[in-house]
C-alpha cells in the first residue's frame, strides 16, 4: 500500500510533437500517406520554385528573357499545361500509392466499436459474432501486425477519430457507422485526439492506442475475460464509498453491482496510461485530483466536482480504482 505505483508510459511519449506523427508512421495505413506527403511537399516546392523564378525574371531579368516571358504562350505553358500535367500525374500516382487504404479488411479481422462522446471515447471489443466482449474507455489495445477494424460511431455530436501514426482521420457521425482500418508494425503507445470541434473541452479529448506483441495481447485480453468472471469484492472502504458517493450512477465496474453506463467504464481503469481522456498521467495522485475536482482539470466535462468529500475518502476511492486492473 505504501509503495509507489509505477507509470508504464509517460504522457510525453504518447503526445510528443516531434518528429511529426504524420511523417513518422507506425503502420501501413499511415505509412502510404506519409510517403504521399513527401511527394506532395516536393511538388509544392518545385512548383513554387518555378513560379518564383518566372516572377524573378519578369521583374529583374534581362530584356531578352523578359520578352520571351511576356506573351500569351507563357499562360498556356505555365498556367494551363503545367497544372494539368502535374495534377494528373499526382492524382494517378497518389491514388495508386494509397491503394491499400481502399482494400477491404481481411475477413475475421478483430473489430472494435469506438464511440465518441462529449468528451471521451467509449471502447467496446467485439467477439467474432459481433457482440460486445469487453468494455473499456479512452484506450485501445491492439495486436502488432494485425489489421483491426474500428466501427466509429457517435453518441451525441460529430467527433473525429485520429491517431496520426496509425491512420488518417475519420468522422464519427450520429446515425452512421464509419469503418476505419488500423495496423501497427511495432509495439508502443500511439496518441490520438478528437479532430472535429465538438464544443467545450474539445481541446482535451485525447486517446491512446497501445500495440502489443500478439501473444502478450491475447494474454491481456484473456486475463481481462477471466477477471470478469470472478471479480472478488474488495470489501474495502473504497468500494463502499464508490456506492455511497453515487459513482455507480455513471460508471460501471464489471463483476460488481456498479453498472452505470453514462460515463467511462472503470473495470480496467487501473491499467490505463492516462486519465481524463488522454490528458493526465494515471497514478494515485492524479486519480485523487480528478475525483476531487475534475472541473479544475478539464473545465466543462461531465464529471461533477466532489469537493464535498473529505480527502481521505477521495484517497480511498483512488486506491480502490487503482486496483481495477
Amino acid at each position: 500500500m505504501s509503495r509507489p505505483i509505477s507509470t508504464r508510459s509517460s504522457l510525453e511519449s504518447v503526445f510528443k510533437g516531434w518528429p511529426p506523427p504524420v511523417l513518422d508512421p507506425a503502420g501501413p495505413y499511415a505509412g502510404s500517406i506519409s510517403v504521399l506527403s513527401w511527394v506532395l511537399f516536393a511538388m509544392a516546392v518545385v512548383v513554387l520554385g518555378v513560379v518564383l523564378a518566372a516572377l524573378g525574371v519578369a521583374l529583374f531579368g534581362g530584356q531578352r528573357l523578359k520578352s520571351r516571358l511576356g506573351g500569351q504562350a507563357v499562360i498556356w505553358l505555365g498556367g494551363i499545361a503545367l497544372p494539368i500535367v502535374v495534377l494528373t500525374a499526382l492524382l494517378v500516382y497518389g491514388l495508386s500509392l494509397t491503394r491499400n487504404l481502399g482494400t477491404p479488411a481481411p475477413p475475421g479481422a478483430m473489430r472494435v466499436q469506438v464511440t465518441g462522446e462529449m468528451w471521451w471515447w467509449r471502447v467496446a471489443y467485439l467477439d467474432s459474432s459481433g457482440k460486445v466482449a469487453l468494455w473499456d474507455a479512452n484506450e485501445l489495445h491492439i495486436p502488432v501486425g494485425e489489421t483491426v477494424v474500428l466501427e466509429l460511431r457517435s453518441a451525441d455530436v460529430i467527433h473525429s477519430f485520429w491517431v496520426p501514426r496509425l491512420s488518417g482521420k475519420l468522422d464519427m457521425i450520429p446515425g452512421r457507422v464509419n469503418l476505419m482500418k488500423i495496423k501497427a508494425d511495432k509495439p508502443g503507445s500511439y496518441g490520438g485526439q478528437c479532430a472535429e470541434y465538438c464544443g467545450g473541452p474539445h481541446a482535451l479529448m485525447g486517446f491512446v492506442v497501445v500495440a502489443h506483441e500478439p501473444a502478450e495481447f491475447r494474454r491481456i485480453m484473456a486475463d481481462r475475460q477471466a477477471a470478469l468472471a470472478s471479480k472478488p469484492p474488495s470489501g474495502g472502504r473504497g468500494e463502499q464509498l464508490f456506492a455511497s458517493a453515487g459513482c455507480a450512477a455513471c460508471h460501471r465496474i464489471a463483476g460488481t453491482p456498479f453498472n452505470g453506463m453514462a460515463g467511462p467504464d472503470l473495470t480496467h481503469v487501473g491499467t490505463r496510461r492516462t486519465l481524463g481522456a488522454g490528458i493526465l498521467p494515471n497514478n494515485r495522485g492524479t486519480l485523487m485530483g480528478w475525483i476531487g475536482n475534475a472541473q479544475a482539470i478539464k473545465p466543462g466535462n461531465r464529471m461533477p466536482p466532489y469537493s464535498v468529500l473529505p480527502a481521505d475518502d477521495i484517497r480511498d476511492l483512488a486506491l480502490y480504482l487503482e486496483q481495477q486492473r
Binding site: S2, P4, L280, P281, G285, G289, A296, I297
Partner: protein, 96 residues
C-alpha cells in the same frame, strides 16, 4: 542537496501530475483543488502541518508520503529518489 535541480523538479511535477491536486506556481495547468495550494511553500515551517520542513524529509514525503507520515491523504507518487530531491528543490523556490 547539492545535486538537486529545481528546473528538473518542475518538469517532474508536471509529468506526474502533482498539479491535479495542488495549485503550483509555475505550472499553468491543471490547478487542482483537492490538496493545499503550494504557493509560498518555502516559507512554511511544517510539512502537512506536522513534519519539520527539511529538505531530506520533504524529498521522502513527496515520494512516499504514507510511509513518512502514516494516515496522510497524500498518496505515494511514481518518482525516483533523485527526482524526489529535484521536486523538493523546486518547492523551495516557491517564495510567498
Amino acid at each position: 542537496m547539492p545535486e538537486a535541480n529545481a528546473a528538473r523538479g518542475r518538469k517532474v511535477m508536471a509529468r506526474v501530475g502533482c498539479a491535479s491536486c495542488h495549485t503550483i506556481p509555475g505550472i499553468a495547468w491543471p490547478q487542482g483543488q483537492v490538496g493545499p495550494a503550494l504557493q509560498g511553500f518555502a516559507a512554511g515551517n511544517l510539512i502537512s502541518g506536522q513534519l519539520p520542513n527539511r529538505p531530506d524529509v520533504l524529498a521522502a514525503y513527496v515520494r512516499n508520503a504514507p510511509e513518512v507520515l502514516p494516515g496522510t491523504t497524500m498518496p505515494a507518487m511514481p518518482i525516483s529518489e533523485r527526482e524526489a530531491r529535484d521536486v523538493a528543490a523546486y518547492l523551495y523556490t516557491l517564495e510567498p
